[in-house]
């Protein structure tokens, strides 16, 4: 067996080798930059790449380690950041013309924590504009392609991060998830994606989309890496008043100890019509695996799942319409060259700066909050939100973890859904209810379609159950090799 090349190591393995001085951080940085050079022209995962800074930072890590200084858990590990995370370095564009030239005056809390842990930033990754979309086709800078098949989308909105991790252009990445934007692209690109419990990870410096739903999370090659990155980014932050005040546990400590006497719930509403036979088959094989290893499999019901997308497409646009009111052509962002007066300056700057999906959602949310419609749309959606949460509370009395497909189908071709907003929205049918309830969810690879496209399994747990989710996922992962497969380079 040949030694895996540097870019094929997990972040955990790479960090260990760098700290033991078996690999130089600078060589790891070069390995990833070479991957970017050979792959990103066709994948377009990155909006911006910081090659010089990466190499300079890697040299500093090497010098510090050679001098015997104490190093962080991610010392020398090259990572990528979704381009809606604020960084002092370079631009933070949200893949929008509105923020094309925006340079953040501060780092997001997650960025500060990753840097303090020794991680090195390769670059910022592409997304659906302002994280609104499920295919990364809504980027103002052009779509990202799926490394497994460049005719297919990588999913979205964190499609650039997912593709960069899958194509070995970084060791791991961060994404954000408002309705599935970490888990769905993770599933379609064959990697691990974790949306933590709402409030576990600070949102300070994440460009706001829907503040009661948004969470930042890791997108990694394997489950242990997800635990490693969660350790670094989770925990209270005075700069985010919605961050949970308790100190989180060490997610790596028991990662290789399988959970005992676990009851796994299968929500019948996730296995109905619309689920592709190949995805269904892969999920059922995973269920058989868990059953064969002593888990109790129970059927549960989440009856309001069918209203999840409808509730989401009232709540998320309502919050977005408010959050995106800040783009006024005055404080920062695009400003029109042709304004007659102040109101016209706002309206023209926003019409020129925002792409069509963002405009649709702003109008949808504005409508749902407008006089005469608030009760029928927004208030009602918030009540349905309560029912969706109650469904989960009830189900988690009968089971510890819920297992489902992450997506109804594998990656689709570019353009297949881009003309029909509603068809695109339905991509998130299995992922939105998790955000609506605020619970943690993760996607991990569990097979491939006959056409060679990855399939993802979703695990959902009660609030703050990340430890159990990660240990269960790790147990599955160590008995399978889906996560070790990688897309061919000559795609």
């Amino acid at each position: 067996m040949t030694e895996p090349s540097t870019a094929d190591l997990s972040a955990f393995e790479l960090a260990a080798k760098i700290s033991r001085r078996e690999i130089k951080a600078v060589d790891a940085a070069h390995a990833y930059l070479n991957r970017v050079k050979s792959q990103d022209a066709k994948i377009h995962a990155f909006n911006e790449i910081y090659a010089e800074d990466l190499l300079a930072a890697a040299e500093m890590v090497d010098r510090s380690l050679d001098a015997g200084e104490k190093s962080g858990p991610l010392a020398g590990v090259p990572i990528a950041l979704k381009d809606n995370l604020c960084t002092l370095k370079g631009h933070t564009t949200c893949s929008s013309k509105m923020l094309q030239n925006f340079q953040s005056p501060y780092d997001a809390t997650v960025v500060t924590r990753l840097k303090a842990a020794g991680a090195l930033v390769v670059g910022k990754t592409n997304l659906d504009e302002f994280a609104m979309g499920s295919s990364t086709e809504n980027s103002a800078f052009g779509p990202t392609r799926n490394p497994w098949n460049p005719n297919c989308v990588p999913g979205g909105s964190s499609g650039g991060s997912a593709a960069a991790v899958a194509a070995r252009m970084c060791a791991a990445a961060l994404g954000s998830d408002t309705g599935g934007s970490i888990r769905q692209p993770a599933a379609l690109c064959g990697i691990v994606g974790l949306k933590p419990t709402y409030g576990l990870v600070s949102r300070y410096g994440l460009v706001a989309f829907a503040s009661s739903l948004d969470q930042i999370g890791p997108m990694t090659r394997d489950v242990r890496d997800a635990a490693l990155f969660l350790n670094v980014i989770a925990g209270p932050d005075a700069k985010d008043s919605t961050s949970w005040p308790q100190t989180p546990p060490d997610y790596l400590r028991d990662i290789d100890r399988p959970p005992e006497k676990l009851r796994i719930g299968l929500p019948k509403e996730f296995f109905g019509e619309g689920l592709s036979p190949e995805v269904s088959k892969a999920i059922h094989k995973a269920v058989d695996f868990f059953r064969g290893h002593g888990a109790e499999i129970v059927e549960v019901s989440l009856p309001h799942t069918r209203y999840g997308i409808a509730a989401y497409y009232v709540i998320a646009p309502a919050e977005a319409s408010s959050n995106l009111a800040r783009y006024d052509g005055v404080h920062y962002g695009h400003r029109t060259a042709h304004a007659e007066d102040l109101i016209d300056l706002y309206a023209a700057s926003r019409a020129e700066g925002f792409g069509p999906e963002v405009q649709r959602r702003i109008m949808l949310g504005t409508y749902a909050l407008s006089s005469g419609y608030y009760d029928a749309y927004y208030l009602r959606a918030q009540k349905v939100r309560q029912l969706i949460k109650a469904d989960f509370d009830h189900a988690f009395k009968a089971c510890d973890v819920i297992l489902s497909p992450t997506t109804p189908d594998v990656a689709f071709e570019l353009g297949a859904k881009s003309g029909d907003p509603l068809a695109m929205y339905l991509c998130d049918v299995f992922t939105v209810t998790c955000n609506i309830a605020g619970i943690p969810g993760m996607s991990l690879p569990c097979g491939f379609s006959p056409s060679g496209l990855p399939i993802g399994m979703q695990l959902l747990g009660p609030l703050f159950s990340e430890t159990v989710l990660l240990r269960l996922a790790r147990f599955y992962e160590t008995a399978h090799d889906w996560h070790r497969r990688k897309p061919g380079d000559d795609v």
């Binding site: 005055v330 702003i362 349905v384």
Partner: protein
């Protein structure tokens, strides 16, 4: 039930123009027609929320029981004005500049 029945109807161009105005989005006529069709389709889908019995439900605005979180009243360093203004499309000294808001010829003041 007047409200529920209006929601199944498609939006009019006037309604789209009104929402665009509230949203501060300057739309062309063709934009209005395109958004009218797309938003009507989405609202038609969303209308299924009307069939849910929500009679005894409290609205849920947030997943966690966090209320009015306070921080210690301590002065901390804030961003320098140059950093705050670095992205301003138009500025003058320590100020953002905008087109004239009041029209002196209108006799106000």
């Amino acid at each position: 039930m007047g409200k529920a029945s209006t929601m199944h109807e498609s939006l009019s161009a006037n309604q789209v123009e009104h929402v665009a105005k509230l949203s501060r989005l300057k739309l062309s006529e063709s934009d209005v027609e395109r958004y009218r069709k797309q938003l009507s389709g989405i609202l038609d889908y969303v209308a299924q929320l009307q069939e849910v019995d929500v009679a005894d439900q409290e609205p849920m605005s947030h997943p966690l029981p966090l209320h009015s979180v306070m921080r210690d009243d301590v002065v901390e360093p804030s961003l320098p004005i140059t950093a705050v203004l670095q992205n301003a499309p138009s500025k003058s000294g320590a100020f953002f500049t905008v087109p004239k808001v009041l029209d002196p010829s209108a006799g106000g003041g």
